[in-house]
Symmetry: C2
């Protein structure tokens, strides 16, 4: 297929959209380690998990064998309001860089939540509704996930209680207002509405909160309130399953034009976007059908893959959630306050952690000033103002494209553009004013955090 | 064609995108009144206009005869980064309303400027670059136009000086920061950087500024600085020409599925979106080939069509711009400060004014609390959080659909969803907190404003 025939944006028809999610665990020889009961250290049963999560989501969480899980029609109809998302050929960026590389990005920001998070939010809300629940609880940091869940709950007429990390609640009143537009209640965390919140407030008065702390509060409310369950926007197997829609659409769009990528790049916080984007490509790799370089990009200020330990750890600060085996910085690790945007969770998806440990993917970390430089460069030629999270992937995509410029290689690079930065202008302002700084945790800091890892045999 | 086969979103292929803009003036029997020299009251010549605007844009401004103007390839390539925009079937809204009406909306918000303004910004920047200029100046109120122009100038490597209404500059720091991301300089207006700005500041110390005032400053800079011209995001004939891309794509998408709309609805401030959306439909109407109900929706707080006078008036506060014949509230009219969002210009496009005066379209006005109710209802079922401006059209589309529910008529309604409200959360917050109020100017206020209209024979 000649260059000329590849459009700027490859859109699939609605009829070409995937009708089933792909479960990469089915093709993994080494399955991700199971969640453990924090008291007994034994694998969590479906019954135990059912106290926290909806039944069908528990089944998806534990399913390591079925490669394809049909997407219910109600979810597919919702997807049609903002999907298929475009796979964009970055012609203008290529030209600006003067690279022979061919760059594509899968753009997930064209919906009001501003990110890919909506793909799993609508699925989780659907199963909650199907189970006859009254509502769901969750935590949110930067606010993308909370917004996505609010939209999904509004669509299915479910109550939605969001615990928002207090520092974000105060710094991002607009995100909060978007959630209110969709009818969600938003509480700054830690709060005095939960036992664990009151305990944390007593121990750390004046704290700005953390994701791990907001998770504890949301889980406490879900498990103590009749007709409620807890939902989570990343890390879990079920979330990666729903997010496989990103990778499946990407693959279908590439296949339509006979494009075979050499490198696939995604930013990684808890792993929801990366896991979704790479899943069908990783599946081919696991089955020995094809090979790809897959690169996870994380912030140097929160480097789970590149400097974390692969160990069982708590998922939350209150230590009321199951234990997960993952690359982790320790559940007490909180990134420096100068860190802008998301990608600030202390751990990483168990599935991705296992794949990384098996050498099936690479990881790299970047400093945020370099990330914002890439973001601005991208915005000026490609139009879209990217989210700080997504810009981690842009940074490495540009770096790889510049390597191609040196070597003359015409590599095909695909990266995930997870979202837009419209609610991150405070960070952009800091960058413009030269006030943005970088932070790299010291070995001593990490060692202190690792020392608190639970002792699991 | 059966209902089932119409997708949620109708996308054209890039190859189906229009290659020429449509100039509705060519089909108008009564042409829009010409711009007049404010000193001589004689029609502005191309030479006179060339001091303010780029040469090719002057030609477009004065061209009342050519129906189609080819879109240069460079502009079409830029369009491909965010166009064709989807024509969305509002299945979920229809269901929620329980109406037999079929509702479609043309969504122009899927780009970082957040609105349709980019369609004309890129065209104006292109012609400025082609003329070898160094840069352009403009004004912006709520910020959509300034953002769009910043993006366009960044793409063509042009300097961009934006005069932003001071009250917006202070209340919307994030919009300002987006413009800075694209390399624009943003000055709060009135400022001490211009003669007219200093004069206004001396007469009205502490003023929050107005669009008319920011226009005066931008024009002064453009006409006094070597290698600069002034560009405007609405009102002008050339802008409506560029925005015809909205209507042409809408018509092509409807034709693809043999859909014939009964009612076409657009919000109207200066008229850029409305004029663009309706142009090919109006063309059919003017040529007697088809008939449509066309409805302009404006705020009750700034009702140019519904309560204005059809007369020659100043386009700016400083009275340095040409005079335009239009439906106007008087160039001194400033909407009440409680008015949220845009649609606050005192006048209306000369082309639309003539069409309205000829009875070829209707106009109606709505109160902002009713507009925000419609916005929230729309967001909760259709996902997209709409801009306050766009929500004026949503309000009337919902009202028309509810009339169909009463009568049982299966009318087809098309409206323009011009943009997203991500930078308008202060207004949404007021609405959520029950603090939003409505304002309708009194007859006395308008009479006082009309008394200052220039005396043009």
């Amino acid at each position: 297929m000649s260059e000329k025939t590849i459009p700027y944006k490859i859109y699939l028809e609605e009829s070409e959209m995937p009708t089933a999610w792909y479960n990469v665990r089915a093709d993994m020889k080494n399955k991700p380690a199971p969640l453990l009961n924090p008291a007994t250290h034994k694998p969590m049963t479906a019954e135990e998990l059912g106290v926290v999560f909806c039944d069908e989501l528990v089944a998806q969480e534990l399913d390591n064998t079925n490669a394809y899980i049909p997407i219910p029609e109600e979810i597919r109809n919702f997807y049609k309001m903002y999907r298929p998302s475009p796979l964009v050929r970055a012609y203008c960026l290529e030209k600006k860089l003067g690279t022979p590389a061919k760059i594509y990005y899968k753009f997930e920001g064209n919906n009001t939540s501003g990110s890919h998070k909506l793909n799993s939010a609508i699925a989780q809300a659907y199963y909650a509704k199907k189970q006859g629940l009254k509502g769901v609880t969750t935590e949110t940091g930067a606010g993308q996930w909370g917004t996505a869940l609010s939209m999904a709950c509004s669509y299915f007429d479910l109550d939605c209680k969001v615990y928002m990390v207090k520092v974000s609640y105060e710094q991002k009143p607009f995100r909060r207002e978007v959630m209110r537009t969709y009818g969600a209640s938003v509480t700054p965390s830690p709060s005095d509405t939960t036992e664990v919140g009151r305990k944390i407030l007593a121990e750390h008065p004046g704290t700005g909160g953390s994701l791990g702390c907001a998770i504890s509060e949301a889980v406490e409310v879900a498990t103590s309130k009749d007709g409620y369950r807890y939902v989570l926007g990343s890390v879990l197997n079920q979330v990666l399953l729903h997010q496989s829609i990103i990778g499946l659409e990407t693959k279908a769009a590439l296949d339509k034009y006979n494009i075979n990528p050499d490198i696939i790049i995604g930013c990684a916080g808890g792993g929801s976007n990366l896991g979704g984007l790479i899943s069908p490509f990783m599946g081919e790799k696991l089955r020995g059908e094809n090979d790809y370089r897959i690169i996870a990009v994380e912030p140097k200020s929160c480097p789970s893959f590149t400097r974390g330990k692969y160990a069982y750890d708590f998922c939350d600060t209150g230590m009321i959630c199951p234990l997960a085996k993952m690359y982790t910085l320790g559940s007490n690790f909180i990134p420096s306050p100068n860190h802008a945007g998301g990608l600030r969770y202390h751990g990483m998806s168990s599935t991705l952690s296992q794949l990384y440990d098996d050498g099936l993917m690479e990881a790299t970390s970047v400093e945020q000033t370099a990330v914002f430089e890439a973001a601005e460069q991208f915005a000026r030629v490609e139009g879209i103002l990217p989210a700080p999270e997504s810009s981690h992937a842009i940074r490495v995509a540009i770096d790889e494209a510049l390597k191609c410029k040196e070597t003359g290689e015409e590599k095909t690079i695909v990266f995930g553009l997870t979202g837009t930065g419209y609610f991150d202008m405070v960070a952009y302002e800091k960058f413009h004013n030269g006030e943005m700084t970088d932070y790299i945790p010291t070995d001593e800091e990490l060692a202190a955090s690792f020392a608190k890892l639970p002792d699991v045999e």
